[in-house]
Amino acid sequence: MSIGTLRLHERHARVTPAARQPGAEGRLADLRKGMTAEIVDLDLALGDSTARRLFDLGFVPGARVSVLRKAPMGDPVILQVAGYEVALRKAQTQSVRVRRLS
């Protein structure tokens, strides 16, 4: 493994304890269809590799995420983040802390 790869592995995606600002904080999983929120941070429960991957997918603290639609049984959901659409399961959205914007 090169130094570069090692460095990628050692990244911690949760380094930003977001500045507490007003606004209802909650979980991404609790948002209803059509809602938009700002990502606060990623939960420790996700595990390092999953947190890193979500970060690489655009789930960055401060980024805006909106719920576009939900699958027939409510899981998974299609989210809009970083200018594209991605489906995540509840297991992941449960561990993303957000602050609701609308």
Binding site: G4, R11, A87, A91
Partner: protein, 646 residues
């Protein structure tokens, strides 16, 4: 230019190697096809389960090798696919040749995300050229991007390539010719996540990058296709159309191929006088190999439709709709696509597992895919159901034969799901839990060229790999069925007159062939299922390909009455043993045989593809073993239960 070209040619010893890196749906494979055309080959990476795609591209007057790496969102790998990308781009990894330069495809409509991957590639220090794709879509959606500013900010060459544009491609090819001269960034982007994010943000600001929140067209289509009610209806309609096309549209094409081979057969019968040679050409080559070639239209159609569904972006939606259902057995939406393909043939199904990020999901799906009722089983089912069920019988408003057929498909699918669940449960110990994430790309019209190449590639692969196996097995089988050779005198001394009754002579040769010896030898194993030595030959021969069973039984039956082989089979009796004289194809035996075929992995091609995809014999051996045990046990149960009921 010519002077420049010659200096480059002199400087380069051996072909330059370029790797193609990009996230899934970034137009990477389309670009690979456009650059390499038909000059591609597939292989395996040492020690891993990922297929390797390489092609030769012509640039600036000489050839260079381009490697299409699997799509990835990050160089911090969480799947075998992504591990390969990280290993290939790692200059310190001695096992894999590091490319001389890297082409990174960036989807202009998802720049906010894909620049993060580019940052990681730039950190490797390899020469990088950025290929911007879908800039036309960005413009259509009203987004902006200043490409020269992006190039200045990145410090590496940036080329915008619109799908199918020869001008853009020419520009890229000129650039590819001298990758050693590419501008390189003086300072690599930061690795620390928040700093990397700030870097990406700064670049998008600098390049005046804006992209509308969502693609209106995609939003409108998704409003229907992902609607809880309409979406589900459209999904089932699409699946129905999928099978309709595979089974109905392919039929006349298959008939065409078949009649072509029959015509060849009559040609051989008419013009080849040597009976041995005529038998070999007619039965082994044309009958055996030809019967497999009739599946080419089906394979081509299947790949055509899968690449259409995938190219337009619907496959991701189908996987999204099915995810909840697949979650019940521990798999995810994408595994559904693999199982769906397996209904036509397990080979494309197994190949489709490459898109699964989790190795455990991949193996579980690969192990269960061969249980889905494939088109080869269909031929066997049609023959055996014809023996088992009266064509006039009905269950309610439906024909009984159709109900039995549907039941077999259903049992196959349920068994596949159950197997996936078992394998997932067994392998779930250890290893990190992987997140489920699936990009929903904008709906796009796929390029005809890409689809044609994908269909051609799969047909070529099928013809090459499958054709070879079937050819060898058919020839060996034909030899076993016809050897040792019997002279006329030998036949007469056995009480058979070859001049009067050629069928009886064939039957005698068959009954006393090496194959018959083999069939008798395995009798103890299959006797509890009610199989006699002739079925055993068929079953053993069908280990190469299920269709061979039909051909073998047909050959055996045709020896007695060439005109009505089904009737012969129905009236066939045991020739020896404790049941001598009794009917062979009793409901119990036929049902057992059907169930045996439902579960057994009788397909050399599947085993071959499994070996190729998993990089070893371990998984194909596991699959063959568990499916054989399952087939034998279930067939025994069926034999006992149906025997008790009738």
């Amino acid at each position: 230019m010519s002077a420049h070209r010659s200096t480059v040619a002199a400087a380069v010893t051996g072909q330059a190697r370029l790797a193609l890196v990009g996230s899934p749906n970034s137009g990477k494979t389309t670009l690979f096809n456009a650059l390499t055309g038909l000059r591609t080959k597939t292989g395996n990476y040492p020690g891993v389960t990922v297929a390797r795609y390489e092609g030769v591209a012509r640039a600036g007057g000489h050839d260079l090798v381009i490697e299409d790496l699997p799509g990835t969102y990050s160089l911090a790998p969480i799947s075998p696919d992504e591990q390969v990308v990280a290993d290939v781009l790692d200059p310190d990894n001695a096992n894999i040749t590091t490319p001389d330069a890297v082409l990174v495809t960036l989807d202009a409509t998802t720049l906010g995300r894909s620049l993060g991957l580019l940052a990681q590639v730039l950190q490797t220090g390899l020469p990088v050229c950025v290929v911007l794709t879908f800039t036309d879509e960005l413009a259509r959606r009203g987004g902006t991007l200043d490409v020269p500013a992006l190039q200045r900010a990145l410090g590496v060459p940036v080329v915008s390539v619109t799908c199918g544009s020869r001008v853009d491609l020419g520009q890229l090819q000129r650039l590819l010719a001298d990758s050693a001269d590419w501008q390189r960034p003086v300072i690599a982007p930061p690795t620390e996540p928040t700093a990397a994010h700030a870097w990406v943000k700064s670049l998008t600001l600098r390049a005046c990058y804006t992209v509308p929140v969502a693609d209106r067209r995609t939003q409108r289509i998704d409003a229907v296709l992902l609607h809880p009610v309409w979406g589900t209806l459209v999904f089932f309609a699409t699946m129905f159309a999928f099978f309709q096309i595979i089974f109905t549209v392919a039929a006349p094409l298959q008939d065409g191929v078949q009649s072509g081979f029959s015509w060849l057969g009559t040609l051989v019968a008419d013009h080849v006088s040597n009976p041995l040679l005529a038998g070999f050409l007619g039965n082994a080559l044309i009958g055996g190999v030809g019967s497999v070639l009739t599946f080419v239209p089906q394979i081509a159609l299947l790949f055509l439709m899968i690449s259409l569904l995938e190219g337009t972006g619907y496959l991701s939606r189908a996987a999204f709709l099915m995810d909840r259902l697949m979650a019940q057995v521990g798999l995810e939406g994408r595994a559904f696509v693999a199982l769906l393909s397996s209904l036509a043939c397990a080979i494309p199904g197994i190949m489709a597992t490459r898109s699964l990020p989790s190795a455990r999901d991949r193996f579980a799906t690969m192990m269960s895919a061969p249980l889905m009722t494939c088109s080869a089983r269909l031929t066997v089912y049609v023959l055996l159901i014809g023996i088992l069920v009266n064509p006039d019988a009905s269950v309610g408003p439906f024909g009984a034969q159709g109900v039995v057929m549907f039941t077999l498909y259903l049992v196959g699918a349920l068994s596949a799901m159950a197997t996936a669940w078992v394998f997932k449960a067994v392998s779930s110990r250890g290893g990190p839990a992987l997140p489920f994430y699936m990009e929903m790309p904008s709906y796009r019209l796929p390029r005809a060229r890409s689809i044609a190449l994908s269909v051609w590639d799969s047909c070529r692969g099928f013809l090459r790999k499958v054709g070879r196996i079937i050819l060898v097995v058919t020839v060996v089988l034909w030899l076993l069925l016809n050897l040792p050779m019997r002279g006329d005198a030998q036949l007469r001394s056995a009480g058979v007159n070859p001049a009067d009754k050629p069928a009886a002579a064939t039957s005698y040769v068959l009954d006393h062939s090496y194959a018959a010896n083999v069939g008798h030898a395995v009798e103890p194993a299959f006797e509890p299922l009610g199989f006699d030595w002739r079925i055993n030959i068929g079953v053993l021969a069908s280990l190469s390909a299920r269709e061979v069973f039909v051909a073998t039984l047909g050959q055996v039956a045709a020896a007695e009455n060439p005109d009505q082989p089904t009737k012969v089979l129905q009236q066939m009796t045991y020739t020896d043993g404790p049941h001598q004289g009794k009917k062979l194809f009793t409901p119990a035996t036929t049902a057992a045989l059907l169930v045996f075929f439902l579960y057994a992995l009788q397909c050399m091609s599947t085993i071959g593809v499994m070996r190729r995809e998993t990089g070893g014999w371990r998984w194909p051996a596991v699959a063959f073993g568990y499916m054989f045990v399952l087939a034998w046990t279930m067939a025994l149960l069926t034999h006992v239960i149906v025997g008790a009921l009738t």
